[in-house]
């Protein structure tokens, strides 16, 4: 990892950061562009972390918005009600989300494929409804007037850290253990991989960064409401991952950037937006099921659950 290529990428991204920061300071980039950049950054954190669970470990989870909301609410409470500093609040949000990942992960990870998807989906909705019914965090109207502490610098460096951490996990023996779970759970276990442990690791780390994205969101858009973390949000993140390519961090980053831009620029045509979006997805699934740069097909993840569990070889000759 710490080779020439790594430093080249690091320098390139720092140059990119510097140029954008320069443009923002000089007022050459208006708020619309900054909003878009920050949104892309937050979405990248969400997608890359979900990719650890779905793409690398092969666990079909669609409750990411739930973890995100925990990060958002907890960090907002920290700054708004307890006047904590921004980094401490963000960290608290991350840890809370990671704990939730642990609590949810342990019982649900016995499930496979579609069953796990439904369980995580349900979990996301439960979290949302808890916020909705908690007066302390404003119920349905949510929390207002959260300080705007997120900026381009915070977003950029946290995206960088997220990608680094996920890549460092994936490109290690622990990452290979996770991928082996995705490839063949029974063989992974027979080779001495503690399958449950690695599923939980993936869940906890994924939830941690979803919490981070939630904290950044809360402190950028002033306001958080339970409805912004509904099923559609989880689904949106899943779409970034599937379109970019399950199990490919580069692909997921690329997919997230493209889709976020598309979404932003189509905002003026709300009727057309969902149609175009859906068409893109349908065509990707037909012509490129492995995603833009992905290594493995989305179809496989769904099929893996349930029936084919102990029959049919995974090695299609």
């Amino acid at each position: 990892m710490f080779n020439k290529k790594f430093f080249l990428y690091l320098v390139l991204s720092l140059v990119f950061y510097g140029v954008v920061q320069f443009l923002i300071t000089g007022m050459w980039l208006n708020d619309f562009y900054v909003d878009t950049l920050v949104l892309i950054g937050i979405n990248i954190i969400l997608a890359v972390s979900l990719n650890l669970i779905n793409g690398f470990t092969g666990q079909f989870s669609i409750g990411h918005a739930g973890f995100m909301s925990i990060g958002a609410y907890v960090s907002a409470i920290m700054t708004y009600n307890f006047q904590m500093s921004f980094p401490v609040a963000l960290l608290a949000g991350c840890v809370a989300a990671a704990l939730a990942g642990l609590v949810i992960g342990l019982p649900t990870l016995r499930l496979k494929g579609d069953y796990l998807a439904i369980a995580t989906l349900g979990f996301g909705e439960i979290i949302r409804i808890v916020w909705l019914n908690t007066e302390y965090v404003g119920g349905a109207s949510g929390m207002n007037g959260i300080d705007k502490l997120t900026n381009w610098t915070w977003t950029f460096f946290l995206v960088l850290i997220t990608i680094l951490v996920i890549q460092n996990i994936v490109k290690s023996t622990h990452g290979r253990a996770m991928i082996s779970v995705r490839e063949n759970e029974i063989a992974a276990e027979a080779m001495g991989v503690n399958v449950t442990k690695y599923k939980v690791y993936a869940f906890v780390v994924g939830a941690f960064f979803a919490g981070l994205a939630g904290g950044l969101t809360a402190h950028y858009f002033y306001i958080i409401q339970p409805t912004s973390f509904n099923f559609m949000k989880s689904f949106e993140i899943l779409v970034f991952v599937v379109l970019g390519g399950l199990g490919s961090t580069g692909g997921v980053v690329l997919g997230t950037i493209l889709l976020t831009l598309l979404f932003t620029y189509l905002q003026e045509y709300p009727e057309l937006r969902m149609i175009i979006y859906s068409l893109i997805l349908i065509f990707t699934m037909i012509f490129r099921p492995q995603g833009l740069l992905g290594g493995f097909s989305a179809k496989k993840m769904v099929k893996k659950g349930g029936s084919s569990q102990d029959g049919s070889s995974t090695t299609s000759a």
Binding site: T173, V193, T315
Partner: protein, 258 residues
């Protein structure tokens, strides 16, 4: 060979699925360094017995000891850590990983660097990974697969996939290697090569091998001792000569074929 020691002791093990007794009261003793075959007609319960030995199923009754330690009811990864690795009847490679990575996964349980060390890329990570890679490459050389180390496992020809699966199981450094129909789908020449490979593995790695096989030629040729399973019960055990002439065995097999 060192003094004979009991490596695997299967004591009255049974497994019930609903009303069906797939394996009933099986007793099996395997000494250190033996090469033992397990045969039986289709549906006799051979693979079920394997799954019991490797923790995929929990025994409904009886005890299993590996090197004197009770392993009944442990999870498969725990049993692998205690020294029993296996291959599968239908090959189960990590299809989308490279040949090298497949073998490296087997070294995972011996890894000393933690997730934390890897996330922060502490020195332990680089040392551990380099060591693992080196060992895995060495290992692939033994199996003549080092030239294909960067190929995706599912793209290998069938015979090489089988070999890779055996290599991967051996990389876990087991005391007991369990091979589930290693010759399935192989032609006669490949089967002969495989027989030599199995014998060579036993001598080279000084391990004990238990193999399930349908191919009588292979079993009789390579195994020193054979257990015959029929309807979930051991109906005979002994040297290949004894098995060949055992009336129960002939009956079990003829009963199936005629």
């Amino acid at each position: 060979m060192a003094a004979q020691q009991l490596l695997l002791n299967v004591d009255n093990v049974s497994r019930v699925f609903g009303g069906l007794k797939a394996v009933s009261d099986v007793n099996m003793q395997i000494q250190d360094g033996e090469l033992v075959g397990l045969i039986g007609p289709n549906g006799a319960g051979k693979t079920t017995l394997f799954n019991l030995l490797t923790g995929v199923y929990e025994p409904s009754g009886g005890k299993i000891h590996l090197s004197g330690e009770s392993v009944g009811g442990l999870r498969p990864y725990q049993i692998t850590k205690r020294g029993a690795a296996r291959t599968f009847q239908n090959i189960r490679l990590f299809g989308d990983m490279t040949v090298l990575e497949n073998v490296m996964v087997a070294y995972h349980m011996h890894a000393r660097h933690s997730l934390f060390t890897s996330i922060f890329r502490l020195p332990g990570h680089f040392k551990g990974e380099a060591e693992m890679r080196e060992k895995a490459v060495e290992f692939l050389k033994i199996f003549n697969l080092d030239g294909k180390k960067d190929e995706i496992a599912k793209n290998l020809p069938y015979g090489e996939q089988r070999r890779l699966e055996i290599a991967r199981a051996l990389a876990a450094r087991p005391k007991l290697l369990l091979l589930d129909e290693p010759a399935a789908g192989m032609n006669p020449q490949e089967t002969v090569d495989l027989m030599n490979l199995i014998r060579w593995i036993r001598d080279e790695f000084k391990i004990t091998i238990l193999l399930i096989e349908h191919d009588m030629g292979l079993v009789m040729g390579v195994c020193e001792r054979i257990y015959v399973l029929d309807h979930g019960q051991i109906i005979a055990s002994g040297t290949p000569e004894e098995i060949r002439t055992n009336p129960h065995v002939i009956e079990a097999y003829l009963g199936q074929e005629v």
